[in-house]
């Protein structure tokens, strides 16, 4: 009697364990040059010393700085960003009934990047206790997805193909505007500002601190709650908008709510980690293969998988690729998957 239930949660438990393992591995290992001093034993000592009631070993002060101030927030922040992007991906894909939809392709990422970039250009990144870029990213991301939606609407319906086209058009335009902010920053002679916006365009975790984890957490929790309580409606939406309406879903309101929630979590991820493409598209796909289309299990699976993918990419970047920006890695890994999906979709449709 218990076994179906066990079978249902087993993938989740395994994924959670894998994520924890990945987080520890990412904190344990690192840069070859630093590896001599930051041994797994010392890392463990430092981690234990931060448990309540323990005191820090004095002789390991710089190892403590590396592990506790630099690596841990970076890895945890990366895990949360991965979860947020996967969550947003699930939301957008289910809502648009399109496996190719993700925060990047519907223009939300680019909009959010532009919002955060403008705030950085105007020198307001520290305002509202550091929430200003996130807020601007949210507003601009929402504007972008609204514009895409309006552009793609044909006779009161939003066909999948036009939606993707509109998303790419708007996304490209907004991406160009973000490049304009980089240019303006360079022209004003503020190279530091320009490089900050550029980092955001590339997508990077290298600079994450505890502050950023604090910025991400509330959005992660809020988004996860809003989407989790919506799993029934999301399942019904998968049957098509009309069927969902027949089953009693207020589809217009529901779409708005999920779009806003998806945009909010994307904005949080982008304003902190920059534009990290493909995670929001590929991860929900993988999760669907793993546990099927039921959102009750799909959402948590995709979140854990998203965290795992991002922490794994970060580890790859730090240990083997000289700290290459993570957005570059996810694009390199995600682009082939995207092509494969597109091809498969075309053959099944044809």
């Amino acid at each position: 009697m218990n076994s179906p239930r066990l079978l249902r949660i087993l993938p989740l438990v395994l994924l959670a364990a894998a994520l924890l393992g990945a987080i520890l591995t990412d904190v344990w290992t690192g840069d070859k040059v630093v590896a001599r001093d930051v041994t797994p034993g010392r890392v463990l000592t430092v981690l234990i010393s931060h448990l309540p009631g323990m005191s820090a070993p004095r002789d390991l002060s710089y190892v403590d700085t590396i592990v506790w101030t630099i690596r841990l927030p970076r890895v945890l922040g990366g895990a949360i960003i991965g979860m947020l992007l996967a969550m947003a991906g699930v939301a957008f894909q289910s809502l648009l009934l399109n496996p190719l939809a993700d925060p990047y392709f519907v223009g939300v990422s680019s909009g959010a990047g532009l919002g955060a970039g403008i705030v950085t250009l105007l020198g307001g990144s520290g305002l509202l206790a550091g929430f200003a870029p996130t807020l601007a990213a949210f507003v601009a991301g929402l504007g972008a997805v609204t514009l895409v939606y309006a552009l793609a609407r044909v006779n009161g319906r939003v066909p999948v193909q036009t939606f993707l086209l509109a998303g790419i058009v708007v996304g490209t335009a907004l991406y160009s505007l973000t490049k304009l902010t980089v240019s303006l920053a360079f022209r004003s002679g503020d190279a530091a500002k320009a490089s900050a916006i550029l980092t955001q365009l590339l997508g990077s975790l290298g600079h994450l601190g505890w502050r950023d984890v604090g910025l991400l957490l509330p959005f992660g929790v809020a988004g996860a709650i809003v989407l989790s309580v919506s799993w029934r409606e999301l399942n019904m939406m998968a049957l098509g908008e009309e069927s969902a309406a027949h089953l009693g879903v207020d589809t217009e309101r529901f779409k708005r709510r999920v779009l806003i929630a998806g945009t909010l979590v994307t904005a949080a991820a982008v304003s902190v980690g920059g534009i990290i493409a493909f995670v929001g598209m590929v991860v929900p796909q993988m999760a669907r293969r793993l546990v099927g289309p039921d959102h009750r299990r799909l959402l948590p699976t995709a979140m854990l998988l998203g965290g795992l993918v991002l922490v794994g990419s970060d580890w790859l970047s730090r240990v083997y690729l000289e700290g290459l920006d993570i957005g570059v890695i996810t694009s390199l890994l995600g682009a082939p998957v995207f092509c494969w999906l597109l091809r498969r979709r075309m053959t099944t449709m044809g």
Binding site: F186, K193, A196, H207, L215, P218, V221, A222, V229, E322
Partner: protein, 335 residues
Amino acid sequence: MKVRNLVGLLFALGMVGLVYWRLQSEPHPIKRTPPRTSNQSDVQAELAALPATFPLALTDSAGRVVSLSAPPQRIVSLAPSCTEMLFDLGLGSRVAADTTADDFPPEAAQKPHIGGYSDMSVERIIAQNPDLIVADNGINRQIIAQLETAHVPLLVLEAHTVLQVYDTLRILGRATGQNAEAEKSVADMKSHFDVIRKTIGMAVSRPKVLVMYGTEPIYTSGSGTFIDDIIGIAGGKNIVEQPASQIGTEEVVLAQPDVIMCDDSIKDKVAQMPGWKERVPAVIHSTFFTPSPEATLVRAVPRLTKGAEELAHFLHPELFDADGKPAPHSSLPKP
């Protein structure tokens, strides 16, 4: 369902509020003062008001207050110019690590590296266990933030003009306890520049100079930069009279520069610029100036004097003898 929505919303708002409050109450690790205005050099007075010995708290070029408990023994430099100044102040042995771009003096290249100038590794910086980190204003702000939360003293030096080069030398001297060396370095620079100025005083012409760092677009140095200062000292006239960092090809043709100052690597490209071979005197006569490897005109370091000497010699060869010293027939005192 309505109730569920409301609970979720309230919870989310509560979380945001909580984090907001938490971040607001967290004291920022570094105090900041408004940045100094670039054209008044009040650094000297500021530094003179500090206590004569450590511990001391001084303000760096970015307006950050940096506290130092003792003269630093393990210094990590994050920029070629900073490394050079540290060696100039006699602190070469205390430089624990620098970047792969640091090539002067030659010993600097032998130090362990914490990465490149624009892609440094924060972990490698901290693994050096430094008691002082010195950076220039090109440093990524996010790296500044990380080093600040790690509570490692970080001194940011920024010099746009020659006067500010003096300032940064003095700030660095104060932060490292090498005040006398810094004052000597500043005095040396000043006397070198004075000799050049006096020699040039007899020149009848002021050749027009264009500085180029790249061809597409043409990055240059306008007014308010140490390169502009030095072109003036060396008896030239910068064709970029505004504080601009770019210039169009057409503007260059209009301005008719007599000399183009650029790196050897882009000379060919410069000569290929459309219309320049026919219309720009510097290209027609192939009067390109590149400082020798021992000199510099792009780093804010004491070695600028050498670059200025070479430029003055290039612009006014008639006033100098063969080895670059002011010509013997000049009635001026020799250095």
